[in-house]
């Protein structure tokens, strides 16, 4: 019951936050000097054709009304233009890209499997590697293993993803010919091909983020291992593995989970550089294209979607937090 109330309160908060974000995005959009109608009006762009294009897209209305129409579209869908040329955008309609002649909702949904495949796989990999490396470093503090792991993580933290990605393609793709260097195969069509195409992007992303997690975990672990309750656990006669793996790790994970949720949330909104390097048709690539084409409805749609993912991740983190740390459960 308490949980239900918590969830409903948080959901309401999420909706309010999203409304504010959409309003700000919209305001930026209106303030921009570029005119979407101008861009799609073709050449030569006579004033009549421009006015027609404006009316068709709904840009002839005051911006507050445009915003309301946008919100209305999310709930009920909307139709641009009239007659034979009319374009219908079904609910939930987050705008219509006149550039790509498709609804933003559909465009995003199309790209989700790609981006989510990259993001979730990479995130699990880096969480596993990062936490494991951090725990080992902390427990074997000052040994060669610790120093090696920390040196490696310094390299990981400072390496840019495009460099690591390109080097990875060069080495594993071209020189060793082990994995395909670009493209995406849907999981439903060819699971092995899916996995094979994703291995390299996963490793590149994981390598970079695992470094951060290894440092975070190591620092937390060293702190927790100095706590009184660890001494108590040892004084009980527990094996060191249990002391570290149960008593310490559970406390270490609390801050790690917070960072992980936010990282995963923002990565799900599109791994822009990695998608570009590996030519993966994900959300990041879609956003890059949209920016390149000044496809404003699409930019707004993707921005909102990314914001939604981050807010959702935040919410999930809070729920997990309540499970991990009983002190915040109430």
């Amino acid at each position: 019951m308490r949980l239900l109330r918590l969830i409903s309160a948080r959901l309401f908060g999420m909706i309010v936050t999203l409304l504010v974000i959409s309003l700000i995005t919209y305001a930026v959009f209106v303030l921009l000097p570029s005119d979407p109608a101008q861009l799609s009006c073709g050449r030569p762009c006579t004033p009549e054709r421009l006015a027609d294009a404006r009316a068709f897209m709904g840009y002839d209305q005051p911006w507050a009304q445009q915003y309301l129409a946008f919100l209305g579209g999310i709930v009920a869908g909307r139709t641009f233009g009239s007659g034979a040329a009319a374009v219908h955008c079904a609910a939930p309609c987050f705008g219509y890209s006149f550039r790509l002649n498709d609804s933003v909702t559909h465009l995003i949904l199309e790209r989700i499997p790609v981006t989510f495949s990259i993001a979730i796989g990479a995130a699990l990999l880096w969480l596993l590697i990062g936490v494991a490396a951090g725990v080992v470093s902390a427990v074997r503090r000052g040994t060669a293993i610790d120093r090696a792991a920390m040196t490696f993580s310094t390299i990981g933290v400072s390496a840019p993803s495009y460099l690591v990605g390109l080097l990875g393609i060069l080495l594993f793709g071209f020189t060793l010919n082990m994995v395909p260097v670009n493209g995406y195969v849907p999981l439903t069509e060819d699971p092995v091909g899916w996995l094979w195409h994703l291995v390299l992007p996963w490793c590149v992303l994981a390598l970079i983020s695992a470094a951060v997690y290894a440092r975070l975990t190591r620092g937390q672990m060293l702190e927790v291992l100095g706590e009184d309750y660890i001494r108590t656990a040892r004084a009980k006669g527990l094996r060191e593995r249990r002391v570290v793996g149960r008593h310490a790790l559970r406390n270490v994970l609390i801050p790690v989970v917070t960072v992980f949720g936010l990282d995963l949330g923002s990565l799900l909104g599109g791994a822009v550089i990695t998608e570009r390097v590996f030519s993966m048709p994900g959300l990041g690539a879609l956003l890059l294209d949209a920016v390149g084409n000044i496809d404003l409805p699409l930019i707004i749609g993707i921005t909102l979607f990314s914001a939604f993912l981050i807010i959702l991740a935040n919410f999930l983190v809070d729920l997990v937090y309540g499970v991990l740390d009983p002190r915040v459960a109430r």
Binding site: Y229, R234, L324
Partner: protein, 598 residues
């Protein structure tokens, strides 16, 4: 052990000892330097005996205990021998040490709140201790957990087992810790400062429990403490440690009656003691009358509280919590009033209300003529310049990145327009006033001892010649010998500068030495208020009497007549009453003369 004694427990000395420490030496390598923590320590603990290792912080008492458990950090070099029933523990392999830890030796630690893992339930943690040594079925473990929790006197074991540490009180947690420690029927219980973090009335219960368990389970107890009162209460044998060396070991009665070593005598001397109790007049507890607006001398009091209520918002639209409830109090100019109470009694909240740091829900707080609740931001700022505050832990109340001089000078640069050289002179003056050499000006807090840090905190608090000093448990983080000197300093500084002082403490003995008047706070209400001598010698309110009775006294004879060692709740009251009496009769022949502070 060469001490001869007629004490009955020493009859067992002819048997081989349970724990024998011989020639134990522990040193730590820090950055190439070798620091010796324990030097050539030898003592024995016999079955059924309570041996107290006494010393101040850094004396090596905890290190000795951790050496027995094999739990010293990797930087420690250990030599000598520790045997448990003939088994050598120094250098023993990990498997054997694991069996001994929790299996043969149970351990309880100082601060139960941090000694238990916050993310697991009590039942889980106690059960884990059982399973580590005696693999058994889930239901058997659960049943044993409940049995243990009721053994240690917890009222609703099922609820306690389901609770997380933050949901229980310090006393409940320490009982749960004890349940965990005795879960596998250990032959030896190591209790490392088991009551230091607890209120006196709770402490009395825990000490009773330890005594009771020792008899019932025939365990030996190695008690580590700095508190001579606790030693007198439970110990049979005492080993006094100083800088890693044993300076004296003797039967408790003998040690208190005739301490042989100068250090032991010094330790006993600095223990604050409670005054002799007169038989309480059977007057009904009176509610403290509303203080007069003006004292007899016609001078307005420095602090005047009228019917003050402070509330904290409750959880999730619940009822607000009344931390301070209808308190009226006054502090006359230049007087020191002590506010005494246990944790949660609202004493710190009241101190904060005085400083205008928490809003007052009802009533008025007037300090040096300013009504704190109604003052504007600007008035509050001026008012705070007339106020000094000293907190409990100087290690955290001083900024670690600033030099001591800079910390003391900060209020000067905030509230005065002294030039840098004048500020510097003032800082030197203040350092001298708190009896610190002026060369310490450029030191950082971490380069100083706890006592020195607290002196710095006092210097900072009096930098602006405050009209009122609020001292919130200023000595509870310090060793007894240091504590005595800080109290002395506080008194002399107060006389010299003539400020009024609100002294917040849980320690009645400390209060006795300092205060002109005492107010006893219980659950947010002042239950008794009056001149220190009256309140502490002839308390009228039963709660004050209970507090006084629970405070341990550094004299083992005080408990010699005690027959009942049961922990049953019903008997606690009788025992409190009994203690009340023993305090009344015995201290006249106390080995230590009552000395006023110099």
């Amino acid at each position: 052990m060469t001490v001869s004694s007629t004490e009955p427990h020493l009859a067992k000395a002819t048997r081989s000892p349970l724990l024998a420490v011989a020639g134990l030496a522990v040193s730590f390598e820090v950055d190439g330097d070798t620091h010796t923590a324990v030097h050539d320590a030898s003592f024995e603990v016999h079955a059924g005996q309570v041996l107290a290792l006494v010393g101040e912080s850094g004396s090596g008492k905890s290190v000795t205990a951790m050496a027995a458990l094999g739990l010293l950090p990797a930087t420690a070099r250990v030599s000598g021998s520790i045997t448990l029933a003939g088994t050598e523990l120094i250098g023993a392999e990990q498997g054997l040490l694991r069996d001994i830890r929790g299996g043969r030796i149970g351990t309880i630690f100082q601060e139960p709140m941090t000694a238990l893992n916050p993310v697991f339930t009590i039942g889980d943690q106690v059960g884990e201790a059982i399973r580590a040594h005696r693999p058994s079925s889930r239901s058997a473990v659960a049943a044993r957990v409940l049995e243990l929790l009721s053994t240690v006197g917890l009222d609703d074991p099922a609820r306690v087992a389901r609770s997380y540490p933050h949901e229980l009180s310090g006393g409940q947690l320490q009982r749960a810790m004890i349940a965990m420690a005795i879960s596998c029927d250990p032959v030896l219980l190591i209790a490392d400062e088991p009551t230091t973090a607890l209120d006196v009335t709770v402490q009395a219960g825990i000490l009773d429990l330890l005594r009771d368990l020792r008899t019932r389970l025939d365990m030996a107890v190695l008690l580590i403490t700095h508190d001579m009162g606790v030693v007198a209460d439970v110990a049979d044998e005492v080993v006094v440690l100083r800088d890693g060396q044993i300076v004296e070991q003797a039967a408790a009665a003998q040690l208190f009656a005739a301490p042989r070593h100068e250090y032991t005598r010094a330790l006993l001397r600095v223990v604050p003691t409670l005054p002799e109790l007169r038989l309480a007049q059977p007057k009904p507890p009176e509610t403290p009358e509303t203080p007069p607006a003006e004292t007899s001398a016609g001078v307005a009091p420095a602090v005047l509280l009228r019917n003050v209520v402070v509330e904290y918002p409750g959880r999730r639209r619940g009822q607000p919590v009344r931390a301070v409830n209808d308190v009226s109090l006054h502090i006359d100019q230049g007087k020191l009033v002590a506010l005494v109470g246990e944790s949660g009694s609202g004493k710190s909240t009241l101190g904060r209300a005085l400083a205008g740091l928490v809003p007052v829900a009802a009533g008025t707080v007037t300090v040096t003529g300013v009504e704190v609740g109604r003052a504007t931001r600007r008035e509050l700022r001026t008012f705070r310049s007339r106020l000094g505050i000293v907190f409990q832990d100087p290690a955290s109340s001083l900024n670690p990145r600033r030099t001591v001089g800079a910390s003391i000078a900060e209020p000067l640069s905030l509230h005065t327009d002294l030039r840098p050289d004048a500020q510097r002179r003032r800082v030197d003056e203040l350092l001298e006033a708190v009896e610190l050499p002026t060369r310490l000006r450029d030191r950082h807090p971490y380069e100083m001892s706890g006592g020195q840090r607290q002196r710095v905190a006092i210097a900072r608090a009096i930098a602006l010649n405050p009209a009122l000093l609020i001292a919130d448990e200023p000595t509870s983080a310090l060793d007894v010998s240091v504590q005595a000197r800080i109290l002395e300093l506080l008194r002399s500084v107060q006389r010299r500068f003539g400020f009024s002082c609100l002294f917040i403490s849980h320690d009645l003995a400390v209060v006795e030495q300092l205060a002109d008047r005492v107010a006893v706070l219980h659950r947010g209400r002042v239950v008794e208020e009056g001149p220190a001598t009256t309140v502490l010698r002839a308390p009228r309110h039963p709660y004050t009497a209970r507090l006084l009775a629970a405070a341990p006294v550094a004299d083992p004879r005080a408990r010699s007549g005690q027959t009942s060692r049961s922990t049953s709740c019903k008997r606690r009251k009788e025992r409190a009453a009994f203690r009340h009496e023993r305090v009344k009769y015995s201290p006249a022949q106390s080995p230590r003369p009552e000395r006023p502070l110099r």
